[in-house]
């Protein structure tokens, strides 16, 4: 049992303790979950050092038997990619708790308990190295989010929650079928063991088998990402979810899909990944442009940000399937950057909602006069989201475009229009909300950021700037992990022309 195991188990323990706390004492429940999740975050920071020493291999590995027949193991470990995603989860959980401090006023205990349960599932998904264990954590994430949307959401919350559940479930049962099929072939759920068997030729999949298995896994992940045209659950879920739910959903849960593609689809089914890359990339680029265009005409802020997520996640998928180091590094960087900036956007929209109880852009205007700081923070986040250099999203988008251009210049051209469109819809929304006449309603309700809200948003702002200026803190470890994926997909070494230092250089030159 090492630090990682403790950190996975801790949120579950926290969930149980929270359930046992007295129902009436709301402040105790809030304080407990906040302190507990902060402690988990502090603990997770200790993971960084050893993982960064050897980011290309698995660190913090625990491999213990769980169920005898069939052989299911509790096998976890983290490399340079999972490290950052776990940190993203543990980092955003206390922020989400703080965020909901005032907003959640009924059934307080369940709400904060579910946030901890969600953290448990998320942390597990990103470190599971046993296919079965991965599936378990994957499904565990579903339940708390379902309740978070369904109980504390807005008017159409039930429709959104059920749609969210059924969509994800439909995809994941096919993944379960694929996992079972693989088990039938390999006799184990252990992911590294399966990869080894594939490498040594002990486990050979026919062309059809590989295609079908790839599609079964990919469909589950694509729904979660969500890839156009499977995205329709996302706007509903986001609009209806409470702020903390939206933040966790956009910032971390969507990454489960892209992480799954990177961790499982690409290394296990290299040939199928390559053969299917073209149409997947076409869908990704369609999603980038479509998401941006739809965002442009949204009258509802949350919906706008939700569609912008569809667009941004299109970049990630594009990067993942461009099959070179730039694309992959960019994709992972974009995953993290999107988590921070879109998380922040949902949070800020939530702040506006708490003040005026409306998400419609037309109900706002001239907010910058009564709330200058809120406007400034919103502007910085907006700029980050549209890929302004020196802020986080730029690096990811740039690397993805670079990687795509390497393969097919037209992909990069089309995808780049998404960047331009993102500036249009975000800035237009910003203009309509924060500038112009200040309606009496707004004057009456609007006030500037308060202490608790500052505490929520400042860490995210700091990260936006850090990730935008000094990508070197993150990129080398991401690159080292991705290199192992690439080594598997292109064993001839053709792709290795882009070595790690080059990537880092690109990042620096880019800014």
């Amino acid at each position: 049992m090492n630090l990682l195991d403790i950190l996975i188990a801790a949120p579950l323990l926290g969930f149980l303790i929270t359930l046992a706390l007295p129902k009436g004492n709301a402040s105790l429940i809030k304080m407990f979950t906040l302190v507990f999740s902060l402690a988990v975050f502090a603990g997770s920071l200790l993971l960084v050092g050893p993982t960064l020493d050897r980011p290309g291999t698995m660190t913090w590995v625990t491999d213990a038997p769980w169920i005898a027949t069939p052989a299911i193991r509790y096998h976890v470990g983290m490399d340079g990619v999972s490290l950052w995603l776990v940190l993203l989860s543990t980092f955003l959980t206390p922020i989400s708790i703080l965020l909901s401090w005032k907003y959640i006023d009924h059934r307080v205990k369940e709400f904060f308990a579910f946030l901890l349960l969600l953290e448990f599932g998320l942390a597990g998904v990103f470190v599971a190295l046993d296919l079965f264990l991965f599936y378990v954590f994957w499904e565990v994430c579903l339940v708390p989010m379902y309740f978070l949307i369904g109980i504390w959401g807005h008017d159409r919350r039930i429709y959104a929650a059920v749609k969210f559940f059924i969509y994800t479930m439909a995809g994941s049962v096919l993944m379960l079928a694929a996992i079972l099929y693989l088990y039938g072939k390999a006799g184990t759920f252990d992911y590294p063991a399966i990869l080894l068997m594939m490498e040594s030729g002990k486990l050979a999949l026919s062309h059809t088998e590989e295609m079908l298995l790839f599609l079964a896994f990919f469909l589950a992940f694509a729904i979660k990402v969500p890839l156009f045209p499977l995205h329709t659950w996302l706007p509903d879920a986001h609009v209806e979810a409470p702020t903390a739910g939206s933040v966790m959903l956009a910032a971390v849960m969507l990454k489960m899909g892209t992480y799954g593609i990177l961790r499982f689809c690409l290394p296990m089914f290299p040939n199928a990944s390559k053969e299917n890359a073209n149409w997947i990339i076409v869908l990704a680029i369609t999603g980038i442009i479509y998401g941006a265009l739809v965002a442009l005409v949204q009258p509802n802020m949350k919906k706008l940000v939700a569609y912008s997520s569809v667009s941004h996640l299109g970049f990630v998928v594009l990067g993942l399937f461009s099959g070179n180091q730039w694309g992959l590094d960019g994709a992972v960087y974009q995953m993290l950057a999107h988590g921070i900036s879109t998380g922040a956007l949902f949070m800020l929209v939530g702040f506006l909602y708490e003040r005026q109880h409306s998400l419609e852009i037309k109900d706002y205007g001239g907010v910058s006069t009564p709330a200058p700081w809120l406007s400034t923070v919103f502007l910085v986040t907006t700029l980050a989201s549209i890929g302004m250099p020196l802020l986080n999203n730029f690096i990811g988008e740039y690397l993805v475009l670079q990687g795509a251009a390497k393969v097919n210049i037209w992909w990069a051209v089309f995808a780049a229009t998404g960047v331009i469109l993102s500036a249009c819809y975000m800035l237009w929304m910003y203009q309509r909300t924060f500038f112009g006449e200040t309606p009496d309603e707004v004057k009456h309700h609007m006030h500037d950021l308060k202490g608790r809200e500052w505490a929520c948003i400042l860490p995210l702002l700091a990260l936006m700037v850090w990730m935008g200026i000094y990508a070197q803190s993150f990129l080398p470890s991401i690159g080292a992990s991705n290199k192992t994926v690439l080594d598997r997909t292109q064993p001839t070494g053709a792709a290795l022309i882009v070595a790690l230092p080059a990537t880092a250089e690109v990042a620096n030159n880019g800014r």
């Binding site: 309740f147 039930i158 079972l180 099929y181």
Partner: protein, 486 residues
């Protein structure tokens, strides 16, 4: 084969659970006549629980004395012991949750418990039957008691309808079974499973006739397990019967019928597997699909659980179709898990329904999480388990079944079955939605949960979760006992 004047001790030990249940049932029936006051009711229910406990011990004794009994009519093996324990456990839960229910409905008489005991005796017999006549006798003993239990509330119209329907259709189906048995006897000259098997292997006059006989028997079994196209009775019966009885019917007799069906088709009819496999394949798919899609439209919880139990029978049929040891083990695990979670769900319905079972629609569950958080949380566990969400027993049940199906190269059945379980999520979620996401409509005072019912709920909920993390506790036994002697 030679019969002694007195049965041997080992034979009696192998038959111990049935002996205990029958004796206890008879004694309690006599005692019931003498004691009419209220206090003796709780005494009778307590004695019934003790008798079932003793029968469980008897099962262990029988298991320790493996072998045949009474001219090879019965077999005491691990497989029989497993199913005896499952049905006895379901019976125990029924007794625990019934006494308060019967008191509430003002029908607390001793016959109820006696009927449960007799029904259990029949089911135990089915689990241990090694002979078609024994199968039939076990089935009849179990069924006749079940028919009466279904209509136990004499003044309840729906209960009467339910019992009558169950009885008429049930007798009809049993006739098919008996007809099939007669044909098999005609073809092979035996009713013993092992002898039938060897007769078929040696060659019979007409393979078609044997297959037809197997088909007739399948009709009988399909009725008992509520498999399509013989599933029509299940929703009506489960809706009309008293809630604790519905739970009992959906878990106990069904598990016993599956036990018999698996044993018959994997020993006697193994030689004609290629003939029945496609039939079962289709039946499994139809059963899952019909059950799940019909459940989508239900507003009555008992009726919904009725359709859901059809769907779950379909999942188990997938395991039976694989005719492999892993498949049998998966079916055994599933039936045990299903017994726990479904009985738990019915226990909660028993509580929520209130006097006269007037509150059994979805709307009546509105805001349950606020009125009774613990009850709602337990029902959530059961429903998540029925959906098949990981860390619950139901998930591992589905998992083992579909794994067995994949191992037997039934990829399409697996994919369709899993998609089916995604459809199923919808109607279970509807219950979660009304419990958690709607405000309570009544401000009625919450009635306290009687002790026995409370124990049932907590035990089933805890067991559902424990099996969801450590399925090995049951699966190891299932795997060990899934090998049938042939």
């Amino acid at each position: 084969m030679d019969a002694k004047f007195f049965p041997q001790t080992a034979e009696l030990l192998r038959f111990l659970p049935e002996i205990i249940l029958t004796l206890a049932g008879t004694l309690l029936l006599v005692m019931e006549g003498f004691k009419k006051d209220e206090d003796s009711r709780s005494l009778i229910s307590m004695l019934t629980a003790v008798a079932i406990g003793l029968a469980m011990y008897g099962t262990v004794v029988a298991y320790q004395n493996p072998g045949m009994a009474f001219s090879n009519m019965l077999i005491s093996d691990g497989y029989a012991a497993f199913f005896r324990l499952v049905v006895l456990a379901v019976g125990l839960l029924t007794v625990l949750s019934s006494s308060a229910y019967l008191e509430r409905e003002k029908s607390n008489t001793g016959e109820f418990y006696v009927l449960v005991l007799f029904s259990l005796a029949g089911q135990c017999l089915m689990a241990a039957a090694n002979e078609l006549m024994m199968v039939f006798i076990g089935l009849e003993v179990s069924s006749i008691a079940s028919y009466i239990l279904a209509g136990y509330l004499r003044d309840d119209k729906r209960g009467n309808e339910s019992a009558l329907k169950y009885f008429l259709l049930g007798s009809f189906a049993t006739a098919f079974l008996l007809y099939g048995v007669a044909w098999v006897y005609g073809m092979t000259g035996s009713t013993n499973l092992v002898e039938i098997r060897s007769a078929i292997e040696k060659g019979v006059p007409s393979m078609t006739m044997v297959s037809a006989a197997a088909g007739l028997m399948l009709v009988g079994f399909a009725f008992k397990i509520s498999a399509a196209p013989f599933q029509g009775w299940a929703p009506d019966v489960y809706q009309g019967a008293p809630a604790p009885v519905s739970g009992f019917l959906s878990a106990g007799p069904k598990a016993a019928a599956f036990a018999v069906m698996i044993r018959v088709f994997q020993t006697a009819f193994e030689a004609i597997t290629p003939r029945w496999e496609p039939v079962l394949w289709t039946m499994a798919l139809l059963t899952m699909t019909i059950g799940n899609f019909a459940a989508l439209w239900q507003n009555n919880i008992k009726r919904m659980l009725g359709y859901s139990s059809i769907a779950h029978a379909g999942y188990v049929l997938v395991a039976v179709t694989t005719h492999s040891t892993t498949g049998t083990a998966a079916a055994m695990f599933y039936l045990a898990a299903y017994g726990l979670m479904n009985y738990g769900a019915f226990a909660i319905v028993t509580h929520v329904a209130g006097k006269g079972e007037e509150r059994v629609t979805l709307d009546d569950m509105k805001g349950l999480s606020q009125r009774e958080p613990a009850v709602a949380a337990m029902l959530t566990v059961f429903l998540l388990s029925l959906i098949g969400v990981p860390l619950t027993a139901g998930f591992f049940g589905k998992f083992y079944i579909f794994k067995a199906a994949i191992d037997s190269n039934m990829v399409w059945l697996t994919a369709l079955g899993l998609l089916n379980s995604a459809v199923a999520a919808y109607y279970y979620l509807r219950v979660l939605v009304v419990m958690y996401m709607h405000e309570p409509e009544t401000t009625e005072h919450v009635s306290t949960i009687p002790g026995g019912l409370k124990i049932t709920m907590w035990v089933t909920a805890a067991a559902t979760l424990v099996l969801g993390v450590f399925p090995g506790l049951v699966l190891d036994f299932a795997t060990r006992f899934a090998v049938l002697s042939k």
